[in-house]
Symmetry: C2
Subunit: 316 residues, 2 copies
């Protein structure tokens, strides 16, 4: 079926009635199949296999099995799980679009929230409050300021560009390393870093980049923030560094395994703050995703280039 | 004893050996009596009664009882407890200096930390982490952004001036009300406020200013922040508003009673974040206070105007 004909679209999201209505309304004559969010190991839904477009994140094997599929609008920025697929296949090329830039504001605000929570002792004050336990003055000498810190931003995408803007009034010395920066540049920057904010995708270059040796290059007072993908860091080495006090803290929105298993060391590592991959969350998140999809649907029907088309070569 | 002679100084602070040495060193020929921080109801220390200057916050009755006392360098910004004293007394006028402006950076950072913690759900994520409990996605639709909020800053001192600077990149609509603003101005601003930050001292004008009626003027989505003095707000009315959901949240660095009693309603009020009067804390807080005192000591000895001399008429 050609892109300009009435599309058959699988919607792989858990939506409420108003959101379904908005999609029906915005999608004009398209045939929408509301299938809900699939689990990772679900077998392909037969209704999905009939579709030529999808909105949401199908398990990769579903894509292989759908002969008419021409476009998948992911509801995420990350797309590493689709890297192994043959999208230029014989049955017809599949275009993949992600939500690049979509989460910059919420994630950047969550970065600042997490860092300030550690610096201003909220990670201790909130549990004290749960016990109605007043400590007060003895906490004060343990508190730190963000003002004047040396910050290294790893990744030069929309998130870290926004983090840099939010940091401006704090008068930090900010070093920005694009993902293309050499590991030698990174290694030179780490010992001069009080706060490292990593916002890079999962690629062969970033996977395991923060191994034990590289983590050890950060000074003792440093705080390590990861809002990209959990694969960036050796989590055992990170837990060791936090437990031994060789690293002052970590704010982790992402982990290698999500959900993080109940017995995982990072749950209890001192001065770690785990935000459970909520960094991009906002009350109107799904509504904004729907508008993004409808905008790309118009482009798809017009045969125009998609917004945020994925480039596997670049890795984003 | 005249100010330019060797001073006898009571130090009412809990200091470590290095801090005592720095004071001795910086104070030249002064006779220093290290008495530690007194409790509120302690009887006057006889060594205090001999002194002509003090560094720290003596119980008010001690000041009345010390005939030679000419200068008290408080270690706080607040000085409401000294308002009833006769400082222009027959025995010789007592000058009082506070630490106005001293806490602007740490308190402003704590304000941002607290507000972002509520908006970015850290008040729920941190207790979940303590239980190694993953919730993840269902939290996302409950999260809010600071960007674009309508902010009212009550109090135009160093703290709120710094808060305004830190808010700049968030693109908030910021209304600034000096403490001298009329209650009519305040009442007009409240219904248009998503975030109220109060940083005003305890004065007859501010005491009880946020009564039940005034709190009710804030919209349902508003967050109330108080980093001045607990006397500003009717705490029962505030707890009612939080419990009933008529107010979205509160960040309280100060409360009417400190320590807050274990059974107090605010400990458990939903979406309240209590920071136990730590907002001004930093690792080098005491060292900075000592430098501030030594600077004023030089002025005192030279008979020059003191830095941050208290003006009871203005109330700051």
């Amino acid at each position: 079926m050609s892109p300009d004909a009435g599309a058959r679209i699988a919607v792989l999201l858990d939506l409420d009635a108003a959101q379904e209505a908005r999609l029906r309304d915005g999608a004009g004559g398209a045939a929408l199949a509301f299938l809900g969010a699939p689990t990772e190991d679900a077998p392909p839904d037969p209704r999905f296999l009939d579709c030529d477009a999808a909105f949401g994140n199908p398990p990769p094997c579903w894509i292989d099995a759908a002969p008419d599929l021409r476009w998948v609008q992911l509801e995420s920025v990350g797309f590493g799980e689709y890297a192994g697929l043959d999208l230029d296949r014989q049955e017809g090329r599949i275009r993949l679009a992600n939500l690049a830039g979509f989460f910059a504001e919420p994630v950047a605000e969550s970065v600042l929230a997490g860092v300030l929570a550690l610096y201003r002792a909220l990670d201790r004050l909130i549990p004290l409050q749960a016990n109605a336990e007043w400590v007060g003055d003895p906490i004060r000498p343990t508190m730190r300021l963000l003002a004047g810190r040396r910050v290294t931003l790893l990744g030069d995408g929309a998130i870290n560009r926004r983090v840099a803007e939010l940091l401006a009034p704090f008068g930090c010395a900010v070093a920005r390393l694009a993902r293309a920066a050499s590991t030698a540049d990174l290694d030179a920057a780490l010992p001069q870093t009080d706060l490292l904010v990593a916002a890079v995708p999962d690629t062969p270059q970033t996977r395991g980049l923060f191994d034990r040796d590289r983590l050890a290059r950060l000074p003792k007072q440093a705080v390590f923030v990861n809002v990209g993908r959990g694969s960036l860091v050796d989590e055992d080495a990170l837990a060791d560094a936090l437990e031994s006090g060789r690293l002052a803290g970590a704010v982790l929105d992402v982990t290698e395994a999500e959900p993080l298993p109940p017995g995982h060391r990072l749950w209890r590592a001192p001065n770690a703050l785990l935000t459970q991959h909520t960094g991009g969350g906002t009350a109107d998140e799904m509504d904004r995703k729907i508008e993004f999809f409808l905008d790309n649907l118009a482009r798809y029907r017009a045969g125009a280039p998609l917004r945020s088309a994925v480039d596997f070569e670049r890795g984003y």
